[in-house]
């Protein structure tokens, strides 16, 4: 599990920093668990691929209500429907969290790149890159729960984050 914590911690720190800075979120961290399922468990999932010295994927899950509430807070105006603007906003949040986390990984000696975020809407949607062991950390906020999924492993090392 030590390898797991090594890679998930930058994402937890980054998520908390971004949520606090962007949405004034009050955050309670849940317990890290190990999961393996190829299907999404939330209404909205932001997926980002990571390559470089560390490879794999990072996924952020939200209910639609939580996603709208966060985007509304960041934008400073109501977001009544989950439209293209809301999609853009929640994807950008995932992008910023991942960017911040990868900067911390760089400081630890792991240079990596992130792909532009992909948004998946709907529960139970199969994502092939999600279908392996990953670490899941729920973050409770006043806007609702956010599910942070990290499935990363160092290149040239068969030890996956969750294994």
């Amino acid at each position: 599990m030590s390898m797991s914590v090594k890679f998930i911690n930058p994402f937890i720190s980054a998520a908390c920093s971004v949520l606090e800075a962007e949405a004034d979120a009050q955050i309670t961290r849940g317990k890290v668990s190990l999961q393996k399922s190829g299907t999404t468990s939330k209404d909205v999932t932001v997926a980002l691929g990571v390559t470089g010295d560390v490879k794999g994927g990072v996924f952020y899950g939200f209910s639609e209500q939580t996603a709208r509430a966060l985007v509304s807070e960041m934008l400073g105006e109501p977001v009544p429907i989950f439209d293209e603007l809301a999609e853009s906003g929640i994807a950008e949040m995932g992008n910023v969290i991942t960017g911040l986390a990868t900067a911390e990984l760089e400081q630890k000696g792991y240079l990596c790149r992130i792909a532009p975020p992909t948004l998946v809407t709907g529960r139970g949607v199969y994502i092939s890159t999600l279908d392996f062991h990953r670490l899941v950390m729920p973050l409770e906020t006043q806007y609702g729960d956010i599910e942070l999924n990290v499935a990363l492993k160092p290149v040239n090392d068969s030890t996956c984050t969750g294994q």
């Binding site: 934008l75 293209e84 603007l85 950008e92 992008n95 760089e106 532009p116």
Partner: protein, 118 residues
Amino acid sequence: MSKVLVVDDARFMRLRYRKLLTSEGYDVVEAENGKEALRVYEEEQPDLVFLDITMPVMDGLETLRELKQRHDEARVVMSSALGQERIIISAIKAGAEDFVVKPFEPNKILETVQKYVG
């Protein structure tokens, strides 16, 4: 009135910049990728450019190099979620004036605009 070009593939981010900068009296024009940014720059001749790095069609660093080649006088501030040191160094070497790392901080954005265009 000073004019700022905001280049970001995320409509949400362009809207945030627009709301903030127009509230302070700046004129804002937008582009959603690097290729469009080069065209808008030619047409609008903005005083400052905020340029995202990760974009489809033409990314920010490629756009920066192309823009500086065509308009050496262009003042460009990179704006990105990618805070890695090597990317910041690449951008500065390619001619960027400054680098703003997201999350979006309104005061920092305004300070940056004031620094370069007043």
